[in-house]
Symmetry: C2
Subunit: 289 residues, 2 copies
């Protein structure tokens, strides 16, 4: 089961998920001069970071918006990067946050679990309801794909809907979603104890962190918000369940870390590696608190 | 302002929005035999439907999932169809339902309002909060782009989140969103009386239809759910504000209508036109009730 494979990778390599949010502005001039085409430039940048972090990173997350922004060429880089990650023996998350129903959701499934843009995991947006989730279950049945559903994010706007209290028990909206995901996820629990149905849980609020972690013990968390978005090691560690129950994503904090160094342009992949190691240590230190 | 242009088109051509949900299974075998490449097949199918409905359709909606499913080739057809709609002097909606924040949302803006996939309007998902909407306002400032935000959909799952009651006044979640959209939309009202910030409102519930229409008088509605999804003329007419305050989308009901006819394969574009005319009449009849 793919969640067991992810769990094992995390045990071996740590909890840092590298976000390949590959904006052209993030790419060193030197590399941009080396190649002509946008798709080649984006792919080469990603490839070198992957090559230099493969032994310390369990999974890579591609935010598809960055590739869509560069149109057909950008999506060719997206496709090629996913293929490269697979051929290198690693795992991928297509951070697509799609949220549509019935036949439309089926088409997204075809696109991101079978087609040109095939990833091991994808992220989903549940706003339209649980019929945005069920069309993907047929892939989960095959045990080789998993999903991360947006549960509670850490952006300021999260209060607009997710943090509203609703229903007879006046529960946060995100608990309404979480409880259903938990139930649905019971059918897909791997030997590691986690389900193929995971959740995206923001990393900058400690307050309810323990509660949400305890409530959903079988849910593997994708935790964004580390680094540039304000999260710190001690903020995210609470979600990890003290047994590698999640991965912590950092994107710009890793892929643009080279910009702080004089020789960064020439050695961006080296500094990406350093940033992963730093982050891993920061989180391990957080765990000791 | 683009909303004024849409309003005028609706006045001239009626309220039927054709949804180009172009699945390969929906395309006549004859056309598939004629061309080799998937992108060419999809584009030709779309082009012929557009050519045959241009005078009775104010705007075309492309559900991007259908194109993503066919990968790079599919997205080439998506791009080319949007370009063709523009060159034909008509309007387009990129039905992308993206819902992400800050720099990621900016990248989606770049992709779908500037880049290869430029459309006149796009659909957005507000689940992560209003910081999923604000990054697009810079395009609205220029007056030549508009958005439709998911407000209340008509799928069964809509009850899972949208129909929950929340907050001190125990209002439906969709009213929490609608009230904020209304406020935000005040800055972008065209001479037609409608805002560049519109909403997606499902067409199969009459009950609260009148309430939602009265509450948001300046909001132009994109109304899906007609035809295959169960909506009827009398169900959708309530949302139109008796002054063309919305467009009603039908996808399969129009583009696959040829399948009912013996000579459908050869004349699919003719039957698409017929389906638009039928639908327009059904809705006009609904209005007389």
């Amino acid at each position: 089961m793919i969640i067991d494979r992810l769990y094992e990778e995390v045990e071996k390599k740590g909890i840092v998920c590298v976000g390949l949010d590959t904006h052209l502005d993030y790419i060193p001039k030197k590399l941009k001069d080396e190649y002509q085409d946008v798709d080649r430039i984006m792919f080469e940048f990603n490839k070198r970071i992957i090559d230099n972090t493969l032994d310390i990173v369990p999974i890579y997350k591609l935010q598809i918006a960055y590739y869509e922004a560069y149109g057909i060429k950008g999506l060719m880089a997206y496709k090629r990067t996913l293929e490269y990650i697979k051929s290198a023996g690693s795992l991928s998350i297509g951070d697509i946050k799609r949220g549509d129903i019935s036949s439309t959701a089926e088409m997204y499934g075809k696109a991101h679990f079978e087609g040109d843009f095939e990833a091991d995991f994808i992220t989903l947006n549940p706003y339209m309801g649980f019929d945005t989730i069920t069309p993907y279950l047929k892939y989960l049945e095959r045990r080789d794909k998993g999903i991360f559903v947006l549960l509670r994010t850490s952006n300021p706007g999260a209060k607009d809907i997710q943090y509203l209290k609703a229903g007879p028990q006046s529960n946060y909206i995100y608990y309404h979603i979480g409880d259903r995901l938990k139930e649905l996820g019971q059918n897909y629990i791997g030997s590691c104890g986690y389900s193929l149905i995971g959740a995206v849980v923001g990393g900058t609020h400690i307050d309810e962190g323990e509660e949400i972690r305890n409530k959903y013990k079988n849910m593997f968390f994708l935790i964004p918000g580390y680094g540039r978005q304000g999260g710190k090691g001690k903020d995210v560690v609470i979600y990890l369940n003290k047994r590698n129950g999640g991965i912590v994503n950092s994107s710009r904090g890793i892929i643009t870390s080279y910009k702080k160094y004089e020789d960064g342009d020439k050695n961006f992949e080296k500094y990406a590696r350093l940033a992963v190691l730093d982050m891993r240590e920061d989180i391990l230190n957080g765990e000791r608190i």
